[in-house]
Every structure is written in structure tokens, then in C-alpha cells.
């Protein structure tokens, strides 16, 4: 849609008064007193101060996001995992040791994480100047449809009028808001006026909802229709339903020192950092706080809440968090709704905060560092009881919060505000000039903070207690001195307002008092779907490339433009190692087998790095996709399976009612297929099964596979049972295949862990490696044999049981048969929440009878 640019007349009556000579004084005095007689109080003319005077959020609405990797370690390692050193006389007590961390934040990227995208989707682009200037009378029906968002479409006039009355009132009273100076044209695109000017020119009165007052009232509330239409009514349909507010957000820090290693100690009690990583201890706060300003997030909350109110049945609605506009009473001008009205709570509980981390994967990218150890970001917890600062806490831990990649990109942002809560906060900043910075004169965009850690009462010896160091060596010069080291980890915690409310409004509705966990089966109120359960645009489920592939499949000919677009896109973005395969595939299929060409494209497209729906690059082709997700990395699986399926159906189909973010835009959460660069394990003492002939492919023995599992699982634990992962894997592989790498079953299960073949379908194998065939009679190995994959079923094999072509669609099998790759993938999956559930032998035997019966049943659903 293209909005007509409107002629904009500058209407500044207060400036005209000032310029009009001696009468101006009298006029100003008259105006001054007339404002006192008005029902509304006097207000200053609009004076937008973007990013200034941000609202101090009620701590109730702050959600904590920890920056951790899959091992709970703070990342980046090179910035936040350090060694503090101190030298002095051996055994000296009451020593103070300190370390100053450098922590860099790019605030221009931080804004993009919490951008306004949901609000534009839910409300329509009411905040855009084009939208405010458009001539509605000339819009065709399609443009009218785009002009309005779900709120305007689904909301009734009474609700919309109430919201707009609140909006006008709030904007008029808060002249510092950026949109206070925005002007709206009337429905014909003429006579632009700001709210302030409307108030002045329409009788110095603001609309209200009571027809018995002298203030104008919308007809839906009984106001006079003619009066209304001649004044406020001309602009009313362009008035937004929610405003943008700036809120303060914070970065705080927790720290833990000491990594003294002595396995002889119970629970490795000298290694306090290890205890944190195991979930047995909570790191302590350190007294450093960074405040920054969050634009737009309030509006996102407001709009999602409004849609939630409109479309979700009353009994199932999200709680009070969706009333942020209507509950914002005049007497609480710059405050959020009253205490107790919101769903979220402060998450100051260490381990639960670890879990509640929906955006920190993306947060990491805001922090300048080299991407090391940047793999999966699921955080797990162990059934330890905390021994830290809150021993009475209940750490009956719930679902892991899988950390999705999150949306990245750029959106409006505020640079670092000057007035920091810690007046002695040390930092240096670089400027960045771009159109997205709201406070143009603020030069503090990319900032490096000095965060000081300090520990008093230390003793210059290595030992178990927290007052001792990890290691000490003799001082090279002073014979009685030592040089001692102690490890220190620093965890940044981003405290973001409104985050939980948006999740609640869009994904599901929580109940008061609960943690703002998303998708937690124990916390979620069943049958309270969120906005996206009803308004789920297809762009949530696919990005542009996926959409084009879908259309190409349905196109009458592969020579259609959409197919050509896909080919061109893949051709331009393909990883070079797949190029020859791609070209050969297209060439072979181009003339004789158009359907096959689509398969070529799909297979290769899997390897093309794609923009995810959650990304917020304003320059992206599909503006809609970035508008849909907004503050929520909405879960595909959740919307489909949890919100739209009846509970009975969920149980029947074994659908998990947990962790919806698992499937959102995270490369690591979707484990198979293969293509990992890894090598088979080194197992001294185990006789190799291979005879050394590479033409035989990968040959394994039971012991080699067991060795691979032991090495791969290491000291990890299966998430649900907290049993050593190695034991669970050894059990499951045995029950699934008895270590037979060629095992297959009639639902397409293949290999040592019996993955479903279709999971890996159409995925290329590594260069120079090809899949083999199945055993027997074709051979005793079934993977890695040189040459093409079989075009047909191996001789002697029953097609009804196993069909290579059907299962893999030709030559692309993603190395599904590679037993070591299956072990590798399984270890990753089982360490995650619910990752072991797909294995029936896990859900079955381990659940009945065992200490884990209830646990597995609860987390995995019923055994089918």
C-alpha cells in the first residue's frame, strides 16, 4: 500500500501568539487562566524528548534474562571468565582481591531485540506518519484492510473508542512523548493537527465517555453524532489505541569466585563455580548496575493485550496485563498499573532465573565478542538444593527455557542515558550515527563498562573454603611470599520490562503469581490461548524462501517465476561445497523431471542461511514477517499443537505441552539431520571392527559404539531423570537396536538410535561420502560405502519394510545411517528438556516401574 503524502500545514498557535506583539501578553494571560478553568489541567505544548524521562518500571514487571551458554557459564568467556591474582606473605589473612571486567554493549543492537514489531502488527502501522496522513476516503478495500490491524478489525467500536479516549488524554498530558507532536490529517487527508491542537481548537476539551459532561463524547457512548463528526470525529479513525513509552531497563551482575579442585571433597565442595554450573549454588550479586532505555516495548505490550482481550474468550483471557492502557488512570500518570495487577513477578531466584531466558541467545550478539562456544543455549538444572544465599528456596525446577536465536537486527533505540543509578559507574563509549537512534545528541552508543569484582577477607593460601585461593605458587623474588590465583565468573543479567506480559498475551495466558514461564506445563493455565492462537499469519511458519518453495511446488511449471526466484536465490547463497551437487541435480532434472528439480532446490536450500521470521531488519524484503513476531519469538509448534489442539488430542498424539520456543528459529534445537564435522572416537583398548578397507564403509562393534557413547555423553545428564546421560544412552541404544547400525523397522526407523528416516530426508551428505545399503544380504555395514546410494531397494529387501527411495528421496540422506552421527545427535537431544521423550524405550521402560514414572509421564506425555 502506498499512502499519499499529505500537505502539512504548520499550526502552532502558541508561537503565533508570541509573535503577535503587545496583545500577545494579554492573550497569554487569558489563555493561562482559561486553562485553569478547563476540566483538564494546563499542559505544555508538545516538546518531544525521545529517550528522556523514561519510566522507572515497577520491579514487578521486570523479567530477568541471564547470559549463559548451555553449561550455565557466562559468555563471552574471554570477557566474563577470569582469574584474579594476588601476591603477599604466605598465609596472610584478611586480604582483598579484586578484578575489573570489561563488558561491552552495543545499544544500537539492543533496541532491535525488543522492537515495536508486535505493535505494528496488532494495531496496524498507526504510529507511522504515512498512516496518520493518508486519505482514507480514497483507499480501496484492500488498502483499508491493510490500514487496520487485528485490533481495529476485531475490536468493537465501544472498546476502540475507550482506548482512543485514553490515548488522547494521555498524549495531551504528556507533552514530552515523541508522538505528542505528531499530526494527523482528517479522513480526507487534510487539515493536519496534533492532539494538542485538536484540544485547543475543539473547545479546549478532551473527549470522555460520559455524555452528561460538557466534553465531547463519541456516539458509541451516547454523544451527539453531529457535534462529534464536525470536530474530533474527523480524525478519530486515525487515533492510535496505544502510545509508545520509554522505560528503563537494567543490566545487573552476579559473580562467583573459586574453582578449587579436589575430587576427594564431598560434592567437590571447594569448587564453588562448579556448584553454580551444576545448579547447586546461586552466584552473589555485585553492586554494579547499568541502566538503559527501552523504546516501544510498552506499546507492544499494550497492543497484544488489547488483541488478547478482543479475541480470547473472557474466561480464558490473559490476566490484567492486557489492560495497560485502560488501567492507566490519570492520577498515576507515569506509572504502570497497580501492584498485584500484573502477571509477572520478580525472578530473583537464581535457578529459576537461569531458566527464564527467552532472548539471551540474541543478547549475546549484542555483546562484542568472538563467537566461541556459541552453540546451543539451553540451560538445564539439576535436582540439587541450593547452598547459596537462599537455602529456603524451593528448587523443584521446571521446564528448561530453550534459548532461541531470537530476533536480531536494528530497530529504534536509545543510547546509554547519562544519569546512571551508580554515579561511579565507569565506562567509555563510541558514537554511532544512524537514523534509528532516537536521542540524536547522545553519543554513547557502543559502551565498554568496567565492572569491578572484589572479595575481602581472603587468605593467601590454596584451600577449600571460599576465603582461600584456587592455587598458589612461590613468589620468585620474596622467599616467604606466594602468588595466588582464584577464578571469577561474572554473569550479566538483563532485566527487561514487559517481556513476560507479551509472551502471556501472545502465546498463552498465565495465572497471577506464577513465574512468567512460557509453555511450562506446570505453570500454564490450560485452555488460555494467546493472540497468536487466533491470528497466526503464515509468515510465522515460514520465511520468504520457504514460502517461495511452497509456491514453487504448487506452480504449474518449474519454469514459473517463483521457481526461478528460488533457484536464483539458492544459486546466489549456496555454500560452495554444495554447488556442484546442486547444479548437477538441477541439470539432471530440468528436462525430464520437474518435480525432482524442486527436490534439488529444497535439499540445497536447507543449507542456505536464511533470515528467520523473528529478525527485524527493516530493510528486509518482507516487512510483514518482521512485524509478526515482534517481542515474541512465537512458537510454531506451540500455536499449532498446544493452543489449537484440544487437550484430549494433545494427549492422544503425545504432544508436549512444554517449551514452545524449542522450535523457533534455533538451529540447534532441531537436531537431525547431520552434516556435523566430527570424527569417530578414539578408543584405546578396543579392537577396531574395521578391517581397514574403506570400501566397506563404517564398520563398528558393540564396544566401539559403547565407547563412543561414553565419550560423547561424558559427565552430562539426561534432562528429565537427571541420570547420567551415558547410562540412559546405553540403555536406549540397546533396547532400540542392540547396537546394530543397520537396524531398521517398518515406520522408517533406521540405525542405532532408530531415527525416522524422513527426518533426514533430502539432506545432503558430506563431500566425498556416500550412503551405503542395508544388511543383509547386501553386507554387514550400511553406511559410508563409496558410490551412489541405491536407486532401488537392496536385493532381498522387502520394500514394504524399507524403501531407500521412499525414505530418502534419492541420494540425500543426511548421513542418517552413520552410527557415530546418531550417537552425537542423540547426546545433544537427550541433554535437553524433553529430548529423550521421542524414544519409546525411554518413555516406556524407564517410566515403568522406576523412580521416574511420574516424572517421565509428566514431561513426555503418555506412552503410546
Amino acid at each position: 500500500m502506498v499512502f499519499k503524502p499529505a500537505l502539512v500545514f504548520s499550526r502552532r498557535p502558541w508561537r503565533a501568539l508570541l509573535r503577535s506583539g503587545p496583545l500577545a501578553g494579554l492573550a497569554l494571560v487569558a489563555l493561562f487562566f482559561s486553562l485553569f478553568t478547563s476540566i483538564a489541567h494546563a499542559q505544555a505544548p508538545p516538546d518531544p524528548l525521545p529517550c528522556e524521562n523514561p519510566i522507572e518500571p515497577n520491579p514487578e514487571i521486570l523479567t530477568h534474562n541471564w547470559m549463559v551458554n548451555e553449561n550455565r557459564e557466562p559468555v563471552p568467556q574471554d570477557q566474563l571468565q577470569k582469574i584474579a591474582t594476588k601476591s603477599g606473605p604466605r598465609g596472610q589473612t584478611d586480604v582483598t582481591v579484586d578484578y575489573t571486567f570489561n563488558f561491552t554493549v552495543d545499544f544500537s543492537k539492543l533496541g532491535g531485540l525488543f522492537g515495536p514489531t508486535n505493535s505494528d502488527y496488532n494495531e496496524g502501522e498507526y504510529q507511522q506518519q504515512d498512516h496518520k496522513n493518508v486519505n482514507i476516503s480514497e483507499l480501496n478495500p484492500v488498502d483499508i484492510s491493510k490500514y487496520n490491524g487485528p485490533i481495529q478489525k476485531a475490536g468493537n467500536q465501544v472498546m476502540l473508542d475507550a482506548l482512543r479516549v485514553k490515548y488522547v488524554d494521555y498524549i495531551w498530558r504528556n507533552s514530552h512523548l515523541p508522538e505528542a507532536s505528531d499530526e494527523f490529517t482528517n479522513t480526507n487527508g487534510d487539515n493536519p493537527r496534533s492532539i494538542y491542537e485538536m484540544h485547543h481548537e475543539f473547545g479546549e476539551k478532551l473527549p470522555d465517555l460520559d455524555p452528561n459532561t460538557s466534553n465531547p463524547t463519541p456516539p458509541s457512548y451516547g454523544g451527539n453524532k453531529n457535534d462529534w463528526q464536525n470536530k474530533w470525529g474527523q480524525y478519530w479513525s486515525k487515533i492510535p489505541t496505544s502510545y509508545s513509552e520509554y522505560y528503563k531497563a537494567y543490566i545487573q551482575f552476579r559473580a562467583q569466585h573459586k574453582a578449587y579442585e579436589n575430587q576427594a571433597l564431598v560434592n567437590n565442595s571447594g569448587n564453588l563455580i562448579d556448584q553454580v554450573l551444576r545448579g547447586a549454588r546461586c552466584p552473589y550479586w555485585i553492586d554494579e548496575t547499568i541502566a538503559f532505555v527501552m523504546p516501544e516495548y510498552f506499546r507492544t505490550t499494550a497492543t497484544t493485550g488489547q488483541v488478547n482481550q478482543v479475541i480470547v474468550p473472557g474466561a480464558a483471557q490473559s490476566n490484567h496485563s492486557n489492560d495497560v492502557i485502560l488501567l492507566n488512570k490519570p492520577e498515576s500518570q507515569n506509572s504502570v498499573s497497580g501492584k498485584g495487577n500484573l502477571l509477572s513477578t520478580i525472578i530473583d531466584k537464581c535457578l529459576k532465573a537461569f531458566q527464564n531466558n527467552p532472548v539471551s541467545n540474541a543478547l549475546k550478539k549484542v555483546i562484542s565478542f568472538v563467537h566461541t562456544n556459541f552453540l546451543s543455549f539451553n540451560v538445564y538444572a539439576e535436582p540439587y538444593f541450593q547452598t547459596g544465599d537462599n537455602p529456603a528456596e524451593d528448587y523443584n525446577l521446571d521446564c528448561i527455557r530453550i534459548l532461541v536465536d531470537g530476533k536480531e537486527g536494528k530497530d529504534p533505540y536509545c543510547a546509554l542515558p547519562a544519569n546512571q543509578p551508580d554515579s561511579d559507574l565507569q565506562y567509555t563509549c563510541e558514537n554511532q550515527i544512524d537514523e534509528l537512534k532516537r536521542d540524536k545528541n547522545n553519543l554513547n552508543v557502543i559502551c565498554t563498562f568496567k565492572i569491578k569484582w572484589q572479595q575481602t577477607g581472603m587468605t593467601l593460601e590454596a584451600g577449600e573454603g571460599p576465603e582461600f585461593f584456587d592455587t598458589c605458587i612461590d613468589h620468585p623474588i620474596n622467599p616467604d611470599w606466594v602468588i595466588c590465583d582464584v577464578a571469577v565468573y561474572l554473569w550479566p543479567i538483563f532485566e527487561i520490562p514487559w517481556q513476560a506480559e507479551i509472551w502471556n498475551n501472545t502465546l498463552y495466558s498465565d495465572v497471577p503469581g506464577n513465574e512468567p514461564f512460557i509453555g511450562s506445563p506446570l505453570k500454564q493455565m490450560e485452555g488460555r490461548p494467546g493472540v497468536y492462537s487466533f491470528f497466526t499469519p503464515i509468515t510465522i511458519f515460514e520465511d520468504e524462501l520457504e514460502g517461495n518453495i511452497r509456491k514453487c511446488r504448487n506452480a504449474p511449471t518449474t519454469e514459473s517465476q517463483v521457481c526461478q526466484d528460488v533457484i536464483n536465490f539458492v544459486n546466489e547463497n549456496i555454500d560452495e561445497k554444495y554447488r556442484s551437487d546442486f547444479e548437477a541435480c538441477v541439470e539432471a532434472a530440468l528436462i525430464t523431471n520437474p518435480d525432482g528439480m524442486v527436490l534439488c532446490i529444497v535439499g540445497v536450500a536447507e543449507h542456505v542461511e536464511k533470515k528467520r521470521p523473528g529478525e527485524t531488519d527493516r530493510g528486509s524484503v518482507s516487512d510483514l514477517s518482521r512485524r509478526v513476531i515482534g517481542g515474541t519469538d512465537c512458537s510454531k509448534e506451540y500455536v499449532w499443537h498446544n493452543a489449537l489442539y484440544p487437550i484430549a488430542a494433545q494427549k492422544t498424539y503425545g504432544i508436549q505441552n512444554a517449551c514452545p520456543v524449542e522450535s523457533a528459529a534455533s538451529s540447534q534445537d532441531y537436531i537431525p539431520p547431520g552434516d556435523d564435522d566430527f570424527t569417530p572416537p578414539d578408543c584405546p583398548g578396543i579392537t577396531p571392527a574395521s578391517d581397514g578397507n574403506p570400501n566397506n564403509g563404517i564398520e563398528t562393534s558393540v564396544e566401539e559404539l559403547q565407547c563412543a557413547i561414553i565419550l560423547e555423553a561424558g559427565t552430562k545428564r539426561e534432562f528429565i531423570t537427571r541420570e547420567p546421560l551415558v547410562n540412559v544412552m546405553l540403555y536406549v541404544i540397546n533396547a532400540e537396536s542392540s547396537y546394530n547400525q543397520c537396524a531398521f523397522a517398518d515406520a522408517g526407523e533406521i540405525g542405532v538410535f532408530q531415527y525416522i528416516a524422513s527426518t533426514w530426508k533430502s539432506t545432503l551428505v558430506r563431500d566425498g561420502v556416500d550412503s551405503g545399503t542395508v544388511s543383509p544380504p547386501a553386507g554387514s555395514v550400511c553406511w559410508g560405502i563409496a558410490g551412489r546410494d541405491p536407486d532401488t531397494n537392496p536385493p532381498g529387501q522387502d520394500p514394504a519394510l524399507f524403501s531407500w527411495v521412499q525414505n530418502f528421496g534419492g541420494t540425500n540422506d543426511g548421513e542418517a545411517w552413520n552410527p557415530f552421527l546418531q550417537i552425537h545427535k542423540t547426546a545433544i537431544m537427550m541433554e535437553r528438556f524433553g529430548g529423550a521423550c521421542p524414544w519409546s524405550t525411554f518413555k516406556g521402560t524407564l517410566a515403568d516401574p522406576s523412580p521416574y514414572t511420574a516424572l517421565i509421564g509428566d514431561r513426555c506425555g503418555p506412552q503410546l
Partner: protein, 153 residues
């Protein structure tokens, strides 16, 4: 003359003594050298002897129960083998069978064999029961039967 005779007699004796002392010195040197080398190679008492990374960490009690049956392993017969894999620190029981009943019969016999060796808690041995059967047969075996009878997973 007497002096000359005496000197002539003494000289060879001194030479012999010197030769003996020379070899004795070499012997002492070698002994000292060896003792020094041995000291160097003796591990310090406080150093930890690390298990190979491939060794499975078994639960407490595994070692004592394993000791009771080690001398009988590997135990092999027609269609089965019971073996301790030292590099992995685990016990594999491999059973070849054409059907579920055959698998269960051999498994039961192996369990009785182990119990007959004064093993007090067979569960501590954490035996891995491997069904070398067709996939159809394997899928028909109740998952509990991949665990030693009476033990929990």
C-alpha cells in the same frame, strides 16, 4: 734381598686390590644410578591415577561384585557370551536368539550363573543385556528385559 722379595710379592696384591676397588666403585655407581632412576619414576603418592576417559563410571559396589566373577570371565557358550570389557569398565552379555523366549531363557541362565558365584547384589554389576536378534524379535522384547531381573533402570 729380603726387601726386594717382599716388594715383588706385595706389588701384585696391590694391583689386585686396586682392580677390585675399581669394579666395586663401578658397582656402587651403577647401583646409585639405578636407585636414582627408580626414585624418579616412582609416582608421587598424592598424584591421582586417572582412569581412561573411555571407562564407564560405575556405581558404588561394582568393583567388589566384579571381583567375584572376574576369574570366570569371559564366559562363552552357544549363542551367548558374558564378558568384562576392561577398557570400558562394563559387562556385556550378548545373547543370540531366534525369538523372545530363547532370549529370556539364556538371560535367565546367565543370571543364575552369576548369582552362583557368590555375587550378593547382581544389580551393582549393571550388566548390559544385548539381544543379537532380528529387529522384529528385539522390538518384541519388553524393555524391562534389557535390564537385569529385579533391578531398576
Amino acid at each position: 734381598m729380603n726387601n726386594g722379595t717382599t716388594l715383588t710379592k706385595i706389588k701384585p696384591t696391590i694391583i689386585k686390590l686396586l682392580i677390585i676397588l675399581f669394579f666395586l666403585g663401578i658397582f656402587i655407581l651403577i647401583t646409585l644410578l639405578f636407585s636414582t632412576n627408580n626414585k624418579t619414576e616412582t609416582p608421587r603418592s598424592q598424584e591421582k591415577i586417572e582412569q581412561p576417559k573411555t571407562a564407564l563410571k560405575q556405581k558404588e559396589g561394582f568393583d567388589s561384585e566384579l571381583e567375584k566373577i572376574t576369574k570366570f570371565l569371559p564366559y562363552k557358550g552357544e549363542g551367548f557370551s558374558l564378558e568384562y570389557v576392561e577398557a570400558l569398565n562394563l559387562i556385556n552379555a550378548k545373547i543370540k536368539a531366534d525369538n523372545v523366549e530363547g532370549y529370556l531363557t539364556i538371560k535367565n541362565e546367565l543370571e543364575q550363573f552369576i548369582l552362583s558365584k557368590e555375587v550378593e547384589d547382581i544389580c551393582k554389576l549393571n550388566i548390559i543385556w544385548i539381544a543379537e536378534t532380528s529387529q522384529d524379535v528385539r522390538k518384541s522384547i519388553d524393555g524391562k528385559n534389557f535390564i537385569t531381573t529385579g533391578c531398576t533402570p
